[in-house]
Amino acid sequence: MSGVQISTLTSRTDVTAINFVRGYIFAGIGNCLYITNRTSKSVQVVNAFKKEPVFTIKFSSNADKVLVCGCNTFVIFSFNHNNGLCKKLTSNFYYPDWLLTAEWINNDNAIAAVSMHNKLVIWNCQDFVNVCESVCEERCILYSAHIAGKRLGKLIIFSGTVFNEILIWSPNVKSNELCLVLTTLKGHQGAIFSIDYNPYVGFICSTSDDRSLKVWQTKKCDFSTGMINVNSVKLKHTLHGHSSRVFRCKILENFIIAAGEDSVINLWDFNGKNVGRFKAQDGNCLWAIDYNEDEKEIIVGGSDGGVTILPFDTYLFNDNVHCISMFNREKPIKINYMISDNLAILSDKGSLYYYHKRANKLMLVGTHEELMKYSLMEVSQCRRLLSLCGFTGNIHIYKEMGCDLEYVCFHKVPDLGRVFSFHWLTCNTFLCCSRNGTLSLWELYDPNEVVLRSVFKLPNSQQRCSTAATFCGENHLIVGDRKGNVHLFILDRLYPVQTIKKAHNHLGITHLSYNSINRKVLSLGANGIVKTYDFDRKLSPTCSDKLPMSWLEKLSACDDLLLILSFRGDIFTVWDIKSRRIVVEIKCGGRHRSWDFKTSLNDLRFSYLKDKTVLMNDYKKSSVFPTKIISSFHTKEINACQLILFKNLENYVLISGGEDTTIKISIGCFKTGSLETVSTLKSHLSSIRCIRCIKRRIFGETTEFNLFTAGGRAQIIAWTLRISSENGRIARIDCKQLHSFHETTKEWESETRIMDLSVLKKNDVVYLIAACSDGCLLIFSIKKKNQIKCIHRGCLSKSRCITKLLHEKFLETDMLICTLTSGHVMFVDLRNILNESESEELKQTEYFPFKTFKLHQNAVNSIVLRKMGEKRLLLVTGGDDNMINASLLQVSGKDNDYKIDFDVIMSCNDNTAHCAQITGLCLSDNRLFSVSVDQRFIMYNVKIDGNKLHLKTSDRFFISVPDIQGMEFYKSNETSYALCFGRGIEMLKIRS
């Protein structure tokens, strides 16, 4: 060993186990145990295993000992619930098969575990000698198991098989004979992922690949015996509440909770009624769930690496619905919340009512007969003013004063016919849309008079009707229309100065909002897409996000959160933008009813019309916004990471992206190991495969970067990233989309993926080179004012996909090194291409590498290059063939020759260190670091001994993150940091 210390600094990966005990939350994340104090939320991390993830956590009866299982190993910790200290009591014990579940038995003097091949194994806690094994007659692979009972002779085993069955068997500890299956529960159509049995309530619950839960009833039993009357087991319910596989279930005193791949947590009562439903971060595959009896809350974790607490008792459906139906043969047709949380209700007879909530009183305010034929009722943003528009173009304005509505004024728009739409812009201005796309801007000038302030026309189209409008700064107005176009007006011009055609699809724009602080505009579309734009005299699109809802309606603020109100079929949905999750879902029957949503100090309120009545749902904020114990990260594989480092700062910025199509910007700390995501950008249509960043300029404490992200569907997005620091800390990060390159392909055209990017700067021009899966290279130029243009396109290899790109300036030559899926490494001279790039037109040519080496049998997945003196280069590549290849290249071209050429003078390779694809490489001094899908991090010494190149393995470290896709490296003095990413991230600290 070389005296090098490697340790984990930061880690985020799948949460595979969660258990609550005496005020502490135990979470198994990777090979570590995270112990969080429920009250203080302080976290203690202890390493449980070297390589195995934690799958099972079980407490002894007085919770002073913790049994932790992972894969085929287990260990016991001592736990002091007074100070929360958790220490290893024993060494790790191994068993030759995967342990699916384990339990303390015989007054905590023994441990029972069920293995994947349907065996029960018993260890005694004196010496941990394997006491006995009990084998079930049915020998097949299990996906789940449950042990009932507390005494060795009276255990009942529930085994969930890959063949869709649950076997109930009783181990026979006295003889070596195979144990008979007492009964088999059949009915599931897929592998069984979890089983729970609660003898007190007499239910068995199972979850399966077939997306269902099955609840089986038995006779209630005394838990001390754990015995079960197998003849009494009957299928009680089959519950369908998940749209994907159901991974975990737990039976509580009165309820069953289940969580699944669709990030949904469902609550069921014992009658099979779905009484609660909660959605975690979209795409988060839930693996672990537990219940805190004291606080009545559910704790969940999954593939986003986060641990969340959900309040449970307030989370039940329908106990908070209030119904108003006291109309005298009148039907409510429109409703709106006023500022006091009281409702304004308009009836089909043209009567306006005011509903006083606390007094539960409905008062008639006034009747306008013209409203019988047609009516619009809109409430201003401040919810003090209410407007009513009728069939003849009259506008009535009411104001809420105290607990009543007062008539403010009546105004007649002097164009008979309808007001098609009415938008409150501020508390005293509104916009009306009438015939021929005519928009009129009015001001409540005097409390009793309405004055026309401007007139606009929507461009001619089939349906010239506005659907949303907002002021944008002092002199601009933005209007959305029914065809999905966004129009920007200046107050003294009749026609729009800018029109963004089809900002949303033909279903139209539903909402527009302007933020004067950061000058951003947000639009919601009926196509389920949220778009943001930067406003600087003109609108420039920055972000486009498709939400899992179909009909977005409105934006609502709730404290510091932003909520999007939308509909999905007949369900009203509240989406939290920041945490990317559904906050509330209410089955109200669809969007074609009048409804209103309001947030108040402690509540979220939703009212809607159904069956001629007004229904009011109130939710406590505390019950719908969960508490995060451990912050979450990407929900799927991370394909690319870019570290941004600053001199004299212990903070770093991490940009990451992957299969979940989001880009996350996070701030981390080298000292404490903390990592917090500050922003999630969702603009990519498909997975993100590469991220590159280049410093553009520095002004004061702010550094500006060009950020490029690319991936599936041949999409490349250019961003401007600004990072400002203050007092030695990162204070502010702004990321703005500059341009998105994505051409929709024609029907028969193939769509490529962008595999890698490379950026270089030359004479103040930034060049971006993209490698495509069809073997082509694209070159873009980015001039000073961020004008981006594709200047070159050509094919490097027609039959092979390019996997990685690397730019290197060597002997005054800009070289591009490309690796291919065929195992080739190609060197391309960029000089000609970049020099001729001044021309304005896109050039199409083929690229001819001046040098090609075949170094691997198939795909090259990682590459690193370093100058070794004047004329030598050390090239190291890692491939899908488990091989690391190191070659020392020497320039063989003549000095004054324009052309450059290499020869391999020494080379060596190693295929012993890794047993899977090598995805990350790094060279630092005379050391080489590699990571692979096999989760090994390996350090080599690189030595040139005479005319021989040597790679000698010096240190190894096991990374708890599976499916590693790459590595970022940073060296600061004696300490190096390696950030490995894949199904999560792990930051390693390497000290010499």
Binding site: C71, R453, R493, G589, D774
Partner: protein, 522 residues
């Protein structure tokens, strides 16, 4: 869109359909065979975990039907310089006989192919199916029965578990599946026989592959180019079965020996590195590369239906339930895809034979709301009309009908389904396009306005600047709202007037209340 996108993404998926394979994995066995010649002269072969049957199909076509199947090749690989004549002769499609022709061929009746799976599988010529569990000894006995006492020369297994998403569990279960297959192989394989099975190359797979050397003389880890670069899948190709003296295959425990789990202990001379081999040469297709749909030198591309859709997936019951109750959650992508499939099939009833009976029932019974609405919805997407409940036509009609019209009943649509709702909206919005409300004359309005202002007591004096301005604004508005306002001449005039008036008028006071949420941070 949608249907072709998978063809665009994956050359092997497309080629599999074009060449009649049930799954793209057929190419993996073909490429392995190309490298290791494991199918040469083989007469008794076992395919474990066979469903949906693409490997059995390869065995059937190569061994039983005696087809000469060339592996897929790119017609004009950049590196090779073959001329046009070579291209024609190496056309892989030319080598494959059309289904009708194969009847005239002589079958190799000596060949016995036994396919084992728990799931049923559509029949294949020359393939004997056993629906059984590969972990049971009785299954091994049944296999040998078909070989008339002889043992198999080759055992292949392309089985993979239900991937849970938890990496280390999936890798473990895959290794158990391989050991299960090895277990049965040891019971049915003759000495010097070969064994091919799928492995996952991830954490510590070297320990597993090392142990195979105890039973076989040569072991390779092979990755065909039809397997993606990003995929952890590979295949162990074990040749020359040669168990140690006195080895009892019934005693082999189907677990890994994990006592030696520390890979650092395995380093150095004690550790044998299993050679890794790539199958598929320079001219073979590569699954990571994007190829144009229309490849040079090939006949015109056309979309083809999958040869064999999956039989009874675990969620089929769920699908059925959702379909019949008409309830479906929208965020379920995979389900949606399945449903779209149903829609596709419904269009083309000839394809019905491929469907499972359950899905057929759903499609046949037209009262299922979803199968209809999907079709409608697809059409809807192409329709450009927007949606609204209010249609002037209906309004007018109702007004004419009675004084107390129950107009707003339509507000509470009794629809259960989003799709139906959209459908209904489409109908209503279609009607909306005819807008023929009677429009008042400009002059009338002005006089009306004048009379109103006089009634409310506002001074009628022409000289009052405020009233004058209001009047001008109104005139401008009335000019703007007319049908001819969009004529270029009028447009310019209105625009000019607007500018003038705006210059005269005072700025709008955009007062905001404390509670105003206009400044929302996003």
């Amino acid at each position: 869109m949608g249907k072709v996108s998978k063809d665009k993404r994956d050359i092997f998926y497309r080629k599999a359909k074009e060449e009649g394979w049930r799954a793209r994995s057929a190419f993996k066995l073909l490429q392995i065979d190309e490298k290791f010649h494991i199918l040469d002269g083989v007469k008794r072969v076992v395919d474990l975990c066979a469903a949906p049957g693409s490997w059995s199909q390869v065995l059937s076509r190569k061994l039983y039907l005696g087809e000469r199947i060339e592996t897929l090749r790119l017609h004009n690989p950049l590196s090779s310089s073959c001329n046009k004549d070579d291209l024609a002769s190496s056309n892989p499609e030319a080598a494959i006989p059309v289904a009708g022709n194969s009847n005239e061929k002589k079958f190799n009746e000596e060949v016995k192919i036994v396919a084992v799976d728990l799931q049923p599988m559509a029949p294949l010529p020359g393939v004997i199916q056993i629906q059984g569990d590969i972990t049971k000894y009785s299954t091994a006995q049944e296999i040998i029965k078909h070989f008339e006492g002889l043992k198999a020369e080759l055992v292949v297994c392309d089985g993979a578990p239900d991937v849970t998403g938890l990496h280390c569990m999936d890798v473990y279960i895959q290794s158990q599946l391989l050991l299960g297959a090895l277990h049965i192989a040891c019971n049915v394989l003759q000495k010097r026989g070969n064994f091919v099975a799928k492995i996952f190359r991830a954490k510590d797979n070297d320990i597993l592959t090392n142990q195979l050397l105890m039973l076989f003389e040569s072991v390779h880890v092979a990755k065909p180019t039809s397997s993606r670069n990003s995929s952890i899948e590979a295949f162990v190709v074990c040749q020359n079965y040669n168990p140690p003296e006195g080895f009892d295959p019934t005693c082999i425990t189907p677990f890994l020996d994990v006592s030696n789990k520390n890979f650092s202990k395995l380093s150095g001379v004690n550790r044998i590195i299993i050679p890794f081999v790539v199958c598929g040469d320079v001219s073979a297709f590569d699954s990571d590369t994007t190829y144009p749909l229309q490849l040079e030198g090939e006949e015109k591309y056309q979309y083809r239906e999958p040869v064999q859709p999956p039989i009874a997936p675990p969620y089929s019951l769920f699908m059925h339930k959702k379909l019949t109750t008409g309830k479906i959650s929208q965020d379920d992508k995979s389900l949606e895809n399945d449903l779209y499939h149903v829609a596709d099939y419904k269009r083309d009833k000839n394809k019905m034979s491929y469907m499972t009976p359950m899905i057929q029932n759903i499609v046949e019974s037209d009262n299922s709301p979803l199968s209809n609405s999907i079709l409608n919805n697809e059409e809807l997407l192409e329709d450009n009309s927007s949606a609204s409940v209010f249609s002037p036509d209906t309004v007018k009609e109702k007004i004419e009908q009675s004084e107390n019209f129950p107009l707003f009943e339509s507000l509470d649509l009794p629809f259960k389904d989003a799709e139906q709702e959209i459908m209904a909206l489409r109908i209503s919005s279609e009607k909306e396009n005819n807008e023929d409300l009677e429009l008042p004359k400009k002059e009338n309005i002005l006089s009306q306005y004048q009379s109103r202002t006089s009634n409310t007591g506002i001074s009628e004096e022409e000289n009052d600047p405020e009233t004058n301005q209001k009047r001008q604004w109104l005139e401008l508005f009335l000019q703007a709202i007319q049908d001819d306002a969009d004529d270029p001449a009028n447009m310019e005039e209105i625009d000019r007037k607007l500018k003038e008036l705006r210059a005269q008028s005072q700025n709008i006071q955009k007062s905001t209340c404390l509670e105003c949420t206009s400044n929302i941070n996003f």
